[in-house]
């Protein structure tokens, strides 16, 4: 089953990949290891999971503004997510996506996307192929 969502472009791009989804906000500074691309925040539901090369879907960023530079470091090391989809983007993620040039779309109902779904981003348009067809 395919669904189509329409959001707002923070950094433009045309990419396709597998979704990694969390309902919890992400802090890149202190919460993601720039050396491995894994989430290291204690108690986060994605703790230990690599965000590299995924279409990373989460509600919004949190924590220190240094987080923008962590996204840049991940990108330069080939460890960044392929794209970011937010419910509501805030400055840490927006600035990080722009300086790292990671496609980023927000104002998307992120509850419609599950881990494992195939997601294609065309600018503000987000197409989602559900991994398990809903009944």
């Amino acid at each position: 089953m395919k669904i189509v969502l329409e959001g707002r472009v923070i950094w433009k791009g045309h990419v396709e990949g597998e979704a990694l989804t969390t309902r919890q906000p992400i802090s890149f500074y202190g919460g993601v290891d720039p050396g491995t691309g894994k989430i290291i925040e204690k108690g986060h539901e994605l703790e230990g999971v690599s965000i590299s090369d995924k279409i990373l879907v989460f509600p919004y960023g949190k924590g220190s503004t240094v987080g923008s530079y962590i996204l840049l470091r991940l990108k330069k090391r080939g460890l960044a997510p392929r794209a970011i989809i937010n419910q509501r983007c805030e400055p840490i993620i927006a600035v990080g996506a722009i300086i790292a040039e990671i496609p980023c779309v927000d104002l998307i109902d992120v509850s419609r996307i599950s881990t494992g779904d195939i997601v294609r981003i065309h600018g503000s348009r987000v197409e989602v192929w559900k991994r398990i067809p809903s009944l």
Binding site: R8, I10, W11, Y29, P34, T65, V66, S68, Y69, L72, R73, K75, K76, R77, C89, E90, P91, I92, A94, V95, I98, I99, D106
Partner: protein, 395 residues
Amino acid sequence: MYLTRLEERMLAGEYGYAAQKAMEILVALGKIYGAERMIEIRSAQISGVSYSNLGEEGLEFLLKLAEDGCVRVPTTLNPCGMDLEEWREMGIPEDFAEKQLRVIEAYRRLGVELTLTCTPYLAGNMPEFGDHVAWSESSAVIYINSVIGARTNREGGPSALAAAITGRTPLYGLHLDDARRPTIIVRAPRIGGELDASALGYHVGRILVGGVPLFTGLGAISRDQLKALGAGLASSGGIALFHVEGVTPEAQRYSREHVEDVIEVTENDLRNEIEMLGEEFDEPDLIFVGCPHASIEELTKIYLLLSGRSVSRRFWIFASRAVRAQAERIGLLAKLEELGVRVYCDTCPVVAPLKRLGFKNVLTNSMKAAYYLRSLHEVRVQLKPLRKLVEDAVR
């Protein structure tokens, strides 16, 4: 969002890579916050100087911006991890110093003034009432918003740099009257010293979720106490503006119809806050003052409290190079040094590699410093008022 012709040309890349990247950041922020247009700024203050946060990749990005970019307004810089002149004496490792100097050089190429202080308003970057600026460094943001009446949002390092390179920032938030109205009244006891002011800020920041507090009942309050109050509010609560009745310039400016709540703070609350953040230890291996960076008044006060007695353990003061130079001119620096006090610049214990310097027990009078030292450096911190710090130092 409306853009002028110049802004559109920057965005299109006609002014080079740096201006384009900067404008992309500002337009995205403007979109997120619903800004109608940009506003020109008078100055900027940039954070993001530590190599350990920027990494090699962040440094490369700064150097790329510096290839064709330059700041368009007076721009100052936050502290780095060491005193640029006396880092060897501080015990800073060689490899750390080498990397830190490369970051500083990148900012110099961008035309940023290497003030390396969190109190640029004590070092020549002093906005006027009503000026629009783009500052990062939470304690400086809250000081100029509240005590001076200048207008800035709480910028991050890259957004402040983007504003400096283009000379503008999106017009939203604290640039507009709406967000500057008091939302909560705080009835507080009279303030003793800087530690009390710091604890009051920290306490109120911790219980408020955003908003603009209006303090009443504080009595006479010095600039240094306002500095400490703001740093406390900004570190525990992310607050970027406060008013003090009868003291700060916008305290009477707005009606109080947006006030949603009134809270009462007692002296007991402040004592508890200080005890909760502090930890027990017998002997401090570092006593320090200057978070935020100390003023000339604070240096004078320390000298007077010492009243001729030499310190018997490490007593460091952190200040801007401008304040240190002022102390040198009036002979105060030499007098402090004679008594064994060191005045370091360009850095502070929060951004210096404290653990690598071997410190474990630190005594200070700043709640902000205590909060960050505990979470970032895993050292034990005890909080005491300035008078007691000095007594412990000479004991």
